[in-house]
Symmetry: C2
Subunit: 420 residues, 2 copies
């Protein structure tokens, strides 16, 4: 049986432990919500201050060239690429996850439609993050209802749902509620065997575990900058296309930044080379610079074994949390909804509980910040860059105390609100 002393020893022996010093973490807080908003990297305030005063304030418009602002989407994209198994020049930072999803869906449907116009279904999970489903609905409605969203109730049903009508299989690699991890290689192969393309949302996997876009045969992918990439609230997202589609794909948000020669100011759109054509309008330089700082916190893990080492620690943390909660909260009515099998889960642990919301509030009052996902999910993210084994221990103890004392009952009538 693990003890808190064991956790202290594991932290002391953890080669990744120094990476925690990259972050500003408020004292007295155990932050298990980095899967919603990553914490502040220590480097970010000075970097942003330098961009504001040293670049914008001093060199003004010249900074687009002199400070390299114009290259930020590609530069930050190249930094993110190795974290998700993409090559240099294959990935770009731009817009929001939702906007990027619109781009890649339209691009994928265009390619599929050219080869086989009869394909009319987009297969996904009912439990996918809602914005992904909403974007399909918006695009399909714009296209006169040409495409139907076919939702499966569980991952097991996906292969059987793929067939001659399938245009695109659209999945979030790690489920935002349950933390269940899809087998990207197997599902991409299944989609291809059915003649469809894949669109992968990496919101809860990029920076949380090794993603292998190229090796696993993905076609299109998007991801979020403000969760495990620590890019700050509402950070730009990223977007990727497999090299085999790069010369062919087109996306409809054809703004000037994606033009082959944006500063020629010609009236006809001509798509830029490669992923540059994913760009649309002018990106926020402050937001891009903060994202760069966030991505650098993950690149700093390279000398320690990179994403593979982070993944090993992440699984150890989530396994310990499951073990501790099940030991300390047995009989309290919590139901583990995250897969117990390591290979099938991301970097979070979720429990279903009837009164999940007030329990979440009571935990926050104790300094343990997880979050609530409607209707009944308690969600805890374990970002291996900065979460310690003792944090896991203490969080489980806090959860047990909240349930045992009944202090969560007091939170039942507080105003209810929750964000991302």
């Amino acid at each position: 049986m693990t003890t808190r002393e064991d956790c202290l020893l594991r932290d002391a022996a953890d080669p990744l432990a120094p990476l925690r010093d990259q972050f500003e973490l408020p004292p007295g807080v155990i932050y298990l919500d980095g899967n919603s908003l990553g914490p502040l990297p220590r480097a970010t305030p000075d970097r942003i201050a330098a961009v504001i005063r040293g670049e914008w304030g001093t060199d003004l418009i010249k900074s687009w060239n002199s400070a390299g602002w114009i290259d930020l989407p590609a530069d930050v994209g190249d930094q993110i690429a190795p974290l998700v198994g993409a090559g240099a020049g294959e990935l770009i930072a731009a817009d929001s996850t939702s906007v990027n999803l619109f781009k890649v869906l339209a691009a994928a449907l265009r390619i599929v439609g050219e080869d086989d116009p009869a394909r009319c279904e987009i297969v996904s999970e009912r439990d996918n993050f809602p914005t992904d489903l909403y974007i399909v609905q918006g695009l399909s409605e714009l296209l006169g209802g040409r495409y139907t969203l076919r939702l499966v109730e569980s991952a097991d049903e996906i292969p059987a749902a793929l067939g001659p009508k399938t245009a695109v299989l659209m999945l979030t690699q790690v489920n935002y509620r349950t933390g269940a991890l899809h087998d990207m290689a197997a599902l991409s192969a299944a989609a291809h065997a059915a003649g469809a393309l894949t669109v992968w949302d990496l919101a809860h996997s990029a920076g949380a575990l090794p993603v292998a876009l190229n090796d696993d045969g993905a076609d299109f992918a998007i991801g979020c900058g403000y969760k495990y990439l620590n890019g700050g609230p509402g950070a730009p997202a990223f977007v990727w296309v497999a090299p085999r589609h790069v010369s062919r794909f087109r996306q409809p948000l054809s703004g000037w930044m994606g033009h082959a020669r944006p500063f020629d100011f010609v009236p006809g759109y001509e798509a830029g080379e490669g992923v540059a054509r994913y760009l649309c309008g002018t990106p926020s330089v402050l937001a891009m610079s903060a994202l760069e700082c966030g991505v650098e916190t993950l690149l700093a893990a390279e000398p320690y074994g990179g994403m593979a080492a982070l993944r090993a620690k992440s699984l150890a943390l989530t396994e310990l949390f499951i073990e501790r909660v099940e030991a300390r909260c047995a009989g309290q009515g919590l139901t583990l909804v995250t897969p117990r099998e390591a290979a099938r889960r991301g970097s979070q642990v979720s429990f279903a509980f009837d009164s999940a919301w007030p329990v979440c509030q009571a935990l926050i009052a104790r300094g343990v910040i997880g979050d609530f996902r409607a209707p009944d999910i308690l969600r805890f993210g374990f970002a291996p860059l900065y979460i310690r084994f003792t944090d896991v221990w203490d969080a489980a103890e806090a959860l047990a105390a909240v349930l045992e004392t009944g202090e969560w009952l007091e939170a039942r009538f507080a105003e209810r609100s929750a964000v991302t």
Copy 2:
């Protein structure tokens, strides 16, 4: 004849002069490019530092509620609204100008299409800012070429181009190259008389002159946050819909932030109330906060007469610049392309010149920052919040000196690059 002493007296007597103190302006620089990137407001560095350290770094995910991050798009929108003749709750800050244009074009075409599906033309100017034309092309291509972009060569041709085929008249209120100002009321009326809707891009008018979206009968509008609104490089843009369309419009970038109940996480999209449905993904809080500081520099003019007083000063500045350049550079081959009539120009003055690019570079070397627009335009923006009459005088003298000395010849072979 005006003298430099007259300019000093005008600056001394200018009631708007104190507004300049709101900005960090590098010494020795005359910044005539605020129509491309507004300068740094003095309030911005501290505001952003407080958002980063005091909100993100301290309260982490809670800041979405406790610091009001979730309300920023609507709050900043309400701040911008009076600057462009819009009411409270009618305008929202979101995404980029290009992305917002896609939303409003799709929304406008949807409304027109329901009433009269045969309308298939989007009328605009060949000289419109290219991204506006590119977005039409991207949307039309996505819709199988259902819409055609009909481009007129000059503003005079617009009324005759409107007819039973016109779906949307899409114009930028102030032309980015020439600075010519459209008559929004007359052109909106002409479009409506032809049965079409209007989409107005306010990139070079919002914050530069009083815009009267409601009074002038506009239907949809978008605008830029990083030019006259001083929101910082790549600041979020804004988007507006006329109240008469607000219950009916739909836009296809239907991300979760525009959902009626985003935190219910239900699989079906249900558009939020009013302009909230223009939102798509999660906005950058840093970029939104910087935009808020920028907009506040304009709201600070309210006690001095607001946009009307700024407009009067702007016209006096541009008139003086035209007068001085024509007096000092006569016979040098400069051709004024900005309308001489005050009511027909925005807040910039542009001259055509065969070697515009090296002249622009030589001026920058002298500390006078205007910009070059292909193929042959020298463009000078006069933001009345911080440009002085003596700046106008000195800029005209610098231009005369560059042309007289021939020092621009040295810049001809320098590497060419330019960014909006």
